[in-house]
Symmetry: C2
Subunit: 226 residues, 2 copies
Amino acid sequence: MVSNPGVKAERATPQRARKDEDKEARRRLLLDEARALYEATSYAEVKMADVAERSGLAKGTVFLYFPTKEALFLALLDDLLFSWFARLDTRLGQPDAPWTGPWLARTVAESLEGETSLTRLLAMLQTVLEQNVTVEQARRFKERLLQAMLHIGALLESRMSFLRPGEGPRVLVHLHALVTGLRQMADVAPVAREVLASPHMAPLRIDFTAELTAALTTLLRGLEAR
Amino acid sequence: MVSNPGVKAERATPQRARKDEDKEARRRLLLDEARALYEATSYAEVKMADVAERSGLAKGTVFLYFPTKEALFLALLDDLLFSWFARLDTRLGQPDAPWTGPWLARTVAESLEGETSLTRLLAMLQTVLEQNVTVEQARRFKERLLQAMLHIGALLESRMSFLRPGEGPRVLVHLHALVTGLRQMADVAPVAREVLASPHMAPLRIDFTAELTAALTTLLRGLEAR
DNA sequence: GTCGTCAAATGACTGGAAGTCAGTTTCCCC
DNA sequence: GGGGAAACTGACTTCCAGTCATTTGACGAC
């Protein structure tokens, strides 16, 4: 790779990332390429060598930035999850928000609409991603997750009067469970997709957004009706 | 392995399983050993070679009974799931059953109490187990799952008057989602267990049975309160 | 400008597990 | 008791995550 002397590259990352800034850019590049591959296939089908190739780097280099494949994908999940939390936070902050159960359910479900990568990764968090990762990385992730859940949980409690103290985060735990579980059922392996195509299988075909909205609405109604 | 001529073995499986009956016994043996290993460790840590060794067979033999590791564990899940369905069915058939929401929630949650293997496997169904399995095996599994859900779903509808037509199976879908999601959160990787031990992490520590009972009760109350 | 240094990058190599298959052995039936 | 079908075996292949000795480019010192 030879730099072109005629054109002044605009903040192109050099061949060697020495500054923290460039390292960060390289890290991002790897996450983006990993995500692109993951969206096109599945976790098992994404090879570290492919991530490297797409990024224009050698395989060994990927392992300088992420010690294991699981660490790479946990970092990706981290990224997607907390940027989603931030977006949800913004949406919930709208001044004209009605704060009814159905509204909240719809808002949450819709905010997860294009977030397939996020919810798919979330469904693998404990069974796959946390299996081969340093305690430190796991801690940082859980710590941030806790922060976010306490923050949003407190917001829920302050706005929805039927929630008792401590129930905000709890609702989020149930939400997390529903998201994880419904994504599993909705986002089905190619093999199973074929199987589910036949008409009588309809009850097992899940529309993620619709089902999440329904379940969450019901759950909130159940809390309100005590 | 030499058979002892002095003792007449009681229905011992011969070295070669030629009768269907003996093949079935061998299949069971493999499933049991796989389960034992899985309960002691995790999916990734169970090696096909270990399953073979524990069963007193060669590695190649395991692959005569199950074409892939995923197929072996999907068969195990199949076993556990449908025997659980049968037990649940029995429990629900008790003549003195009160058929209230909280009762149903408790009954279901309690029936899943010692079933950690079942729920752990369920949480991996789509993300891992269906990834490397024949269409045929996937079809048989889904087909049986559908049967069971329609059966139990119909039972729920007939006993709980607030359920509208078609909502029985739907409740089961949400139940499945909750089970899957809560098991993920409750049954945590060793790394994460250490992380979650600190006191301020309490909101992220989940008691599976308690949380499932709570969520399911709320969900049913929400349906009743329409 | 160029030279020395050192961290970044490389890619051939290792280890380990799933899955294969040609050869071996058992046991059923004639 | 012997012939043959098929169950079983385990060395071998393949594939991929992860390693590490070596190479190379960026940058500061002069």
